[in-house]
């Protein structure tokens, strides 16, 4: 064996292990185990694994991580691969897509999306919207809105008329019967978000740009 399968590179943030993507997986595991045991590292160090064009199943990924973390002084912060499966790619596209629903979400109806949703119409009491991303209602929101269903804490709920019975973001739930003063005083053009303490809060839509600037997909505006 003359070719090195594991390259170790030091950076400011820690070590980068660049793993060869042409050799067999078993060979890679063998060499990685050897390299890790060579040691020579003092104190704790942060490690990133770069896989190149190799696709790893999650069990394999766990195996590599446990090998590296085995001696105890290395911690894997990130596993980076240049390839993903078609399935993962599709999921990613869907979760970043915005869908449009035109009509009225009536009592008993549930509208679900993987990514964001724009509702042009009303959400009536007992109507429910569930989105992986954010919810934007151009109309009256009087039902139930659940944004960030799969754990997206950055998701927000926006409505021209904001009068929902329940607002949910990620796993937080707010029953609007104990209404917040801002909602009580003026239900027009509000949005809900999770604040730093993980509690649902409300603001005027104009404040989105300060609270969630990263939701913007277009920069500039000249």
């Amino acid at each position: 064996m003359n070719k090195q399968l594991v390259h170790i590179k030091g950076t400011k943030a820690g070590l980068v292990l660049r793993l060869d993507d042409q050799c067999a997986y078993a060979e890679l595991v063998e060499e990685l185990e050897r390299k890790v045991l060579e040691g020579g590292i003092d104190g704790k160090v942060d490690v990133q694994l770069h896989l190149g064009n190799r696709y790893l199943q999650s069990a394999q990924q766990d195996e590599l991580i446990s090998i590296v973390q085995g001696p105890g002084n290395m911690h894997v912060s990130k596993v980076h691969s240049d390839v993903i499966t078609i399935e993962e790619s599709n999921e990613k596209v869907l979760s970043e897509q915005s869908e449009t629903y035109i009509g009225i979400v009536r009592s008993g109806q549930i509208v679900k999306t993987v990514g964001d949703i724009v509702v042009i119409g009303d959400v009536n009491p007992n109507g429910r919207i569930e989105a992986g991303g954010s919810i934007y209602v151009l109309g009256n929101l009087r039902g139930i809105a659940h944004a960030g269903v799969n754990g997206n804490k950055e998701a927000i709920v926006v409505a021209s008329h904001f009068e929902p019975t329940h607002v949910l973001i990620d796993d937080q739930i707010e029953v609007m019967s104990n209404e917040q003063t801002i909602v009580k005083e003026n239900a027009e053009q509000l949005f809900a978000y999770l604040n730093r303490d993980g509690i649902i809060s409300y603001e005027r839509v104009q404040e989105v740009r300060k609270i969630r600037p990263l939701l913007s997909t277009i920069k500039g505006g000249s």
Partner: protein, 265 residues
Amino acid sequence: MGVAIVITSGKGGVGKTTTTANLGTALALQGKKVCLVDTDIGLRNLDLVLGLDNRIIYDLVDVVEGRCKIHQALVKDKRVDEKLFLLPAAQTTDKNAVNPEQMKSLVEELKREYDYVLIDCPAGIEQGYKNAVAGADRAIVVTTPEISAVRDADRIIGLLEQEEMEPPKLIINRIRKDLMNNGDALDINEITTHLSIDLLGIVVDSEDVISSSNKGEPIVMDPNSKASLGYRNIARRILGESVPLMSIEDSSKGMFKKLISIFSK
């Protein structure tokens, strides 16, 4: 070829059966051939409201199961000559005795002979509702100015919008002007914007409706009642006329009181 209209509401007790009986009679009085179908199997009432209960021989389930011909089961209303017929529901079985396909072909058959087939839907969204909606071309949703009735109407409109038929139309029944004026009941505008479907008409609450139902004579037979006017206006709108929405203000004030109210302004 006629039109089949289902009259539904979701919630019980808002006046589906009364509305069916009165619209049917009003359309027949306008010279149309009308057949009313009661799909509330097991809890039939439409025959009572029309005063035809003692003339029933066969019923809807008999027709569907082939025990009689369709015309043998139809009960003729003699007050409106040769124009108004009723296909009564069975009283001995339940909603599962009929399935949507059977209802569809039954209504198709009736549509060939009648201008209007009005289907009285049972309360709820289960089998009975599915049967009633199966053969219909159009739907009328009845509600009252109560939050519970409006909520159920919203649900039923959501279900109707998924069927292959025209968008449903709304009737607001049992309007009480005193409650609406002082804000104790939902007002007409509030209900129509909330449900956002076309308003077909309004019917004011009146004690005459109850007494006439008990007598088995639809209120539209009485030309002096305000509720009767509401139903007749709705029937004319179904026929395609444009009739302005009647005011809910009390017009039964005497001449003298009207004069006083003019001078007291």
